[in-house]
Amino acid sequence: MSDLRPDLAVIARNVDPGTRVLDIGCGDGSLMAALRDTRGVDARGLELDPANVSAAVARGLSVVQGNADTDLADYPDQSFDYAILSQTLQTTRRPDLVLDDLLRIGRRAFVSFPNFAHWRVRLSLLWGGRMPVTRLLPERWYDTPNIHHVTIDDFRAMVAERGIEIEKARYLRGDRRTGPAAANFFAEHAVFLLSRD
């Protein structure tokens, strides 16, 4: 699991063994493969990019080409123990509806995203006056897939409004954890484990 992206490694460590997982925006299936191989997880994936889907299927994973905004409705209620959305929320057209779908399909949901309130991003906008291009957000405003930039505090507010419980939260700076205090300023990434009461 050591070669997983840091937010995926956090998720992988926190998924209970032997569970059923839907990984939405699963990329080439790295997390799914790790979950299958190290934790005996029954993993399914949804991925937009056909080259990624082919790569995942070619490594023996069950992945469906599709779009989080339109295709989650096809999955039955509570059919998975976990629904995972890693670094995809900010690319969806309606993150709020996608979040509702996650907790309809999964009993619990992992959501990870890059924090747009990280101090580097703030600095870039404050002093440069331009939309930030950072290590974590390398695309320019016009070609970025990130159409709904979100901060950790924004996300906390959204889940609170929707009556969603945060079971766990992990904040990352590079591949290292950082504390919850001032996470909205210092964390580059956040990973949340969510459930409905």
Partner: protein, 372 residues
Amino acid sequence: MTADPRYGLHRHVSLPGPLALDSGAALTPVEFGYETYGSLNTDKSNAILICHALTGDQYVASDHPLTGKPGWWTRMVGPGKPIDTERYFVICSNVIGSCLGSSGPSSINPATGRAWAMDFPVLTIRDMVRAQAMLLDHLGVERLKAVVGGSMGGMQALSWAATFPDRIGAVVVIASTAKHSAQNIAFHEVGRQAIMADPNWRGGDYYGDGEAPAAGLAVARMAAHITYLSEAGLTEKFGRRLQERDAKTFGFDADFQVESYLRHQGLSFTGRFDANAYLYITRAMDYFDLAEEHGGMLANAFRATDARFCVVSFDTDWLYPTRESRAVVRALNAAAKHVSFVELSSPFGHDAFLLESPELNAVVDGFLKVEG
């Protein structure tokens, strides 16, 4: 050790049946033209059934006896290929209703000693699949590692999952659909009418001394062939280019390359295919609606199987477009089955599944290599 005569190339067997058909009729005997490649392992766990398309046949990876051309899917099937004949025991059987050694309108009706012609019972895709199961019993194969098919072969693969849920471990469905649409039926009807309008057709009774309805069959093939290609593919291949001439002739010769190409496709087809078989198989495809067979709910067709599914479509296929594959995937998800789906990009339309596609090969290869 002598080789088992049931296995190998150019096999033929006549089984007593009877095979109960969806129409209520029964077929007896049931003849099969088929081929097997590779060897069945000791625990009989490595058998893969390949289902062919409308005008396909059992010569999936060996030379066609009538045309001398290589097998129709040598890109996918053979030593070291995704369907690796050194790992798997591969079976491909001519569907019943066809004309390459399996029971069909051109085979002999034991009651009369003459060709069945239009007395042959009308078939369904499920009838073809039940016949294949009968052949597998004869071959000593209880359970398939996988059933694989493109186009009409994909319909059979889906029907396998619904009809024999416990006999399959995996299902690969390429460029296919769970039902024939009005447009699909319409194109087939054009082909059938072309055949039946040929004066040589004579109510289907042309096997004795008469000429076969080759002109009608050629037109049927020409119309169908257009549906296998994309508009962009046709434009790229032919455009408005003229056929071996510098100017239009102001007549009805094949002035355009695309006309010449279609005429050639139509004519060469008549050398290897029976017109009545074309009628029967297109009818079976038109009758295909897997949801209808399961109370109108496609998901119900898949509930009983534990097989893994791999569904592939091509973005320029307008015969069985991606939305048809998605409908299958949606039903499989609703039934909580293991399903993979990818839409591959190709300029070649429906025919893409038969052509060079490294992505298709990678997907099928990876999917089949999974244990279980």
